[in-house]
Amino acid sequence: MSANTTLLEVKHLRTWLASGDAVVRAVDGLSFGIEAGETFALLGESGSGKSITALSIMRLLPDAGRVVSGEIRMDGTDLLALAETAMRGVRGRRIAMIFQEPGTSLNPVMTVGAQIVEVLERHTELRGDGARRRALELLESVGIPDSQRRVDEYPFQMSGGMKQRAMIAIALACAPALLIADEPTTALDVTIQAQVLELLRDLQRKTGMSVLLITHDLGVVAQMAHRVAVMYAGEIVELAPAKAFFSRPAHPYSKKLFEAVPDAAGRRRGLAVIPGTVPHLSQEFVGCRFADRCDSAWARCREEAPAAVEIGAGHAVRCHLYDSRDQESAVRSQEKAKIGTGADSADVAERLAASSSLLAVNDLRVYFPIRKGIFRRVVAQVKAVDGVSLDIHSHRTLALVGESGCGKTTVGKGILQLVPVTGGSVTFDGVDLSTLTTGALRPLRKDFQIVFQDPYSSLNPRMRVAEIVEEGMTALRVGTGSRQERVDELLQQVGLSPDMKYRYPHEFSGGQRQRVAIARALAVEPKLLICDEPTSALDVSVQAQILNLLKDLQQRLGLAYLFITHNISVVEFLAHEVAVMYLGRIVEKGGVDEVLRSPRHPYTRALLSAVPVIDPAGRREVIRLQGEQPSPVSPPSGCHFHPRCPSVMPECRLAYPGATPVSDTHSVRCFLYGKGE
């Protein structure tokens, strides 16, 4: 720790929430301090209490929440003891906050300027022209171009990244000493995330404010934080300077988090999995909260709650392993844990020779008409998918990578014929699906199924698990004989117990729900599974479980996957081939190593460089992209990427480049490598 003064000090904070008839100890004895000018990261999975901590500091808890005990001191004054009127002077002026969802944290019926001025008028003497000038300055400082015009625009006229910048501008209006950023980039695409993170770093350098960064993303922490606190089940299990944390994570939970991040190395051996889920916080804990999921737990962990142990300069861990009294048994159990980790499983699928092509998509086009006027005439087309060609072989995984709005989900739905296809062909096992009638298509539907992104909306809340899994079998008349036995078998296959089948979806956690969704898709024995971001709504540790499951199923059942994702590290772990999409078209495709190790297209390069990387050695120079992905209603002329491209050439504005082969399997559509065919 540096000799800086402590700006914010939280001591033994305990915040409880009332939920139904139970008390949830959302934050249970939290202590930390934030130095002036540093970025302090609070890292944890969903439900670990990190957002409640932020709300406790701001004193913006919901009605059901209450700070039970503890102190929150800012410059020596106890915030919890302040009167509400005095607290209002602190909020916005001394501490400001930005939220995860930029779309909902701005008032849609006020201009951005008015929202900044509102804060200025509340906290400063600035009025009228002075306030407006300051608002313009702020918008410029957060990198919003053309601020003279933007200041009078409404939030709906701005893109997601722009809104988050505007939100930051509002937060910075009074030059707060502390900025609380609650998952500031989770809702944004990687290239935009890179822009916003850089902006935050820049602003911090200029103003010297402290940042409390709340996130679940190790990569973001690695890029931003000076110090890290890992939260688990309402308490901090590890608190360390960022360097020490990333070189030697101490707590078993922290270690597991690192191992659960999917990457190319995990490809061979499977990801480390933290069994189970975060415990319910409505119980009183006797021992260590992590004991039930910990490989190295022994009897003492279940009987006695560990105290924080200092193991290095400013590095504290709440684990019995580091308690000197118990060094010996700790070593023993660690050895045991080592033996316990699974043997490396060879990638069977990879060794299998690439079999015949299962699905061939040729020049797929999906346009959505925009209708206007009394006769609903078509005035324009949203070209969501504009000429996509893909090939998927059985036993193989093709990852379709792209930012939100590039049309990757529509490709999936177009293949499944869930949206009307405008042009092109989808050939599955030799049959062109797009020419079939609904009736003729129905029997074929058992061969290709889909797993959706959000496990909370993909299961009907009014149906039991058994009915959900059975639905496809009934509709497609598969396995008429013993459906219930088949349901049991499927549930076991996805790692659920068969006696869960009479439960309703709300009784399951996110990861379990996703398993049910996978079981539902597998029920009709498909050959191709389209996975539409199946893990992006899940926590890292649960994501690892699902990814391992998918990989295992591929090896056992020989499934082909079309894996739609924006998460590059998942691609490294799971995919054999990669196709990168930008604004309705595939700009580069090839084998996973080819595309990820030696990307050719400027967009692929920028995308890869923007991904936050944990390992400092592997960090690349971030290629900053200008602006954001344009709307598919009016794509730019020529190459769609040219307005943002760092190596744009005159010809890029004129025509869309054809595919240029780089190797047998690798091709790219960019004029840098030739005109294409």
Binding site: A18, A64, V68, S69, S457, L476
Partner: protein
């Protein structure tokens, strides 16, 4: 047989509705996701207290729906028994004297004398203008001026005593029953109820029941000797009229919903899910229907029914049957004009639901549209239907009053809140005012609608997913205690 049962059309529908409620109650008990929100209703204090009040109204309404025609006294001609033309209900029989004790005209509550002067012949042959004694109200008193007030007070005190005894018996019975259900001992259960420590707010419900008993027992006992709420123009007891109005209000409030539900549900969900031209047609229908002034449409329909009934007098054996058909048609008309609101809501919800992944997943399995609508959409819009049905109820009770007041409501021979208000309206201009008809109708309707509204509020709270983790009462008390 001393009577023949008469099943009027509205009775039939009421019984169908009761059967539906019982069957769905039995079904809900076995479905956990349906039982949970109802459990929340059962834990809400407002909800359960208003339910107690509502169930008193419903009990009266149901008793009033069991109709029969009594056999006439005297020798049956040609071996066939004669039955009265007047259709009576079980409720009428229970409160038998109340409906038959007709005075000449108005009399005030608890009065012994008529409200207007009449020329009476004295025993000595002279004539005088004076307030005559009532035939039934306070008829047992020798000197009303002296005895009336003490008699009423004495009656009330006694009745409240009886009410207290009844209430204690009720409390004991509930405690004993609960002790049986939860395998606990009686005294423990009783103290839990008294301290309000039960999950279902039995204490609050018992207090409500106590208030109802304390009001209704004196009214019931005193109504044997007095007109507790006075009499109307034709000398009919107003208390009796108010009680009879309850059935009319309930029938309008519930049957109308029954009529409109199929329209609203099928059209709304179809419009939202299928979209395209189906959506256009359905939207066109309900926007057009909405544009026609409701009262105009209702008036026209009621007048047509009336004309049709006048042309076919042979179809109706009794006056009650005529009145009943008119009531039924009023329900139909109100139903047809009021489904649009729910339909629009359901269309919006179906538009939202059809984009959800589980519907998309079902489509990926090739599940038919019909099955998607019945298995995926309908169960997921039922909470909206329930909320609307319960909220709509009170609006419809009030609508009946307004329509009958305007003169296009129920048959004039049928007692309802609307006809009571309508007949009382002219007398408000009199001096001294005849206020009791209006006041009685107002109080009864107010209680019915208020309890229905409170109940619908707690139903909405329980089914609204946004208020999911509301604190229970016990929790709130723990919560408000300082740390």
């Amino acid at each position: 047989m001393p009577f023949i049962p008469v099943i009027l059309w509205t009775d039939r529908l009421v019984f169908v509705l009761v059967a539906v409620v019982i069957v769905s109650g039995w079904y809900i008990r076995r479905q956990e996701h349906l039982r949970a929100p109802w459990g929340k209703v059962a834990r809400s204090r407002y909800g359960m207290c208003s339910l107690v009040v509502l169930s008193v109204f419903v009990a009266i309404g149901l008793l009033d729906s069991l109709h029969y025609r009594p056999r006439l006294e005297g020798r049956p001609a040609e071996g066939k028994a004669n039955y009265a033309v007047e259709v009576r209900s079980v409720f009428d029989a229970l409160v038998a004297p109340l409906g038959r004790r007709l005075e000449k005209t108005y009399s005030a509550p608890f009065a012994a004398y008529s409200f207007s002067k009449e020329t009476v012949e004295r025993p000595d042959g002279t004539q005088a203008r004076e307030f005559p004694r009532l035939k039934f109200g306070g008829a047992h008193l020798k000197d009303p001026a002296q005895e009336r007030v003490p008699d009423v007070v004495r009656g009330m005190v006694g009745a409240i005593g009886i009410a207290a005894v009844l209430w204690i018996v009720l409390t004991m019975a509930i405690a004993a029953w609960l002790a049986g259900v939860y395998n606990s001992d009686f005294s423990h259960m009783l103290s839990a109820i008294i301290h309000g420590d039960t999950e279902v707010p039995w204490r609050a419900m018992l207090v409500t029941a106590g208030v109802i008993l304390a009001v209704s027992v004196p009214l019931a006992l005193l109504s044997a000797r007095y007109h507790v709420m006075g009499t109307d123009k034709v000398g009919q007891d107003v208390f009796y009229e108010a009680l009879k109005s309850i059935r009319t209000g309930l029938v309008i409030g519930t049957l109308t919903t029954l009529v409109m539900l199929p329209f609203a549900l099928s059209l709304g969900v179809m419009a939202g899910y299928l979209g395209g031209w189906v959506d256009d047609v359905i939207q066109y229908i309900y926007t057009t229907l909405n544009a026609i002034p409701g009262v105009l449409l209702i008036a026209a329909a009621v007048l047509i029914t009336q004309a049709w009934m006048d042309l076919h007098p042979e179809m109706f054996e009794t006056v009650s049957q005529r009145a009943d058909i008119r009531l039924l048609f009023l329900c139909l008309i109100l139903g047809i004009t009021s489904w649009t609101g729910l339909c629009r809501l359901l269309r919006g919800e179906a538009l939202k639901l059809r984009e959800l992944d589980y519907v998309e997943a079902a489509r990926a399995f090739g599940v038919s549209d019909w099955r998607i609508i019945t298995r995926h959409l309908l169960p997921n819009v039922m909470h909206i239907v329930l909320i609307i049905v319960v909220t709509e109820f009170s609006g419809l009770v009030l609508a009946e009053a307004v329509l009958s007041y305007v003169g296009v409501g129920v048959d004039p021979s049928m007692i309802s809140f609307g006809t009571m208000i309508n007949s009382a309206r002219l007398e408000l201009a009199r001096d001294p005012t005849v206020w009791w008809s209006l006041a009685a109708a107002f109080v009864f309707m107010f209680l019915l609608v208020l309890s229905a509204n409170l109940f619908s509020d707690s139903v909405r709270d329980a089914f609204d997913p946004r208020i999911r983790s509301a604190m229970t009462a016990r929790m709130r008390r723990l919560w408000l205690r300082p740390a």
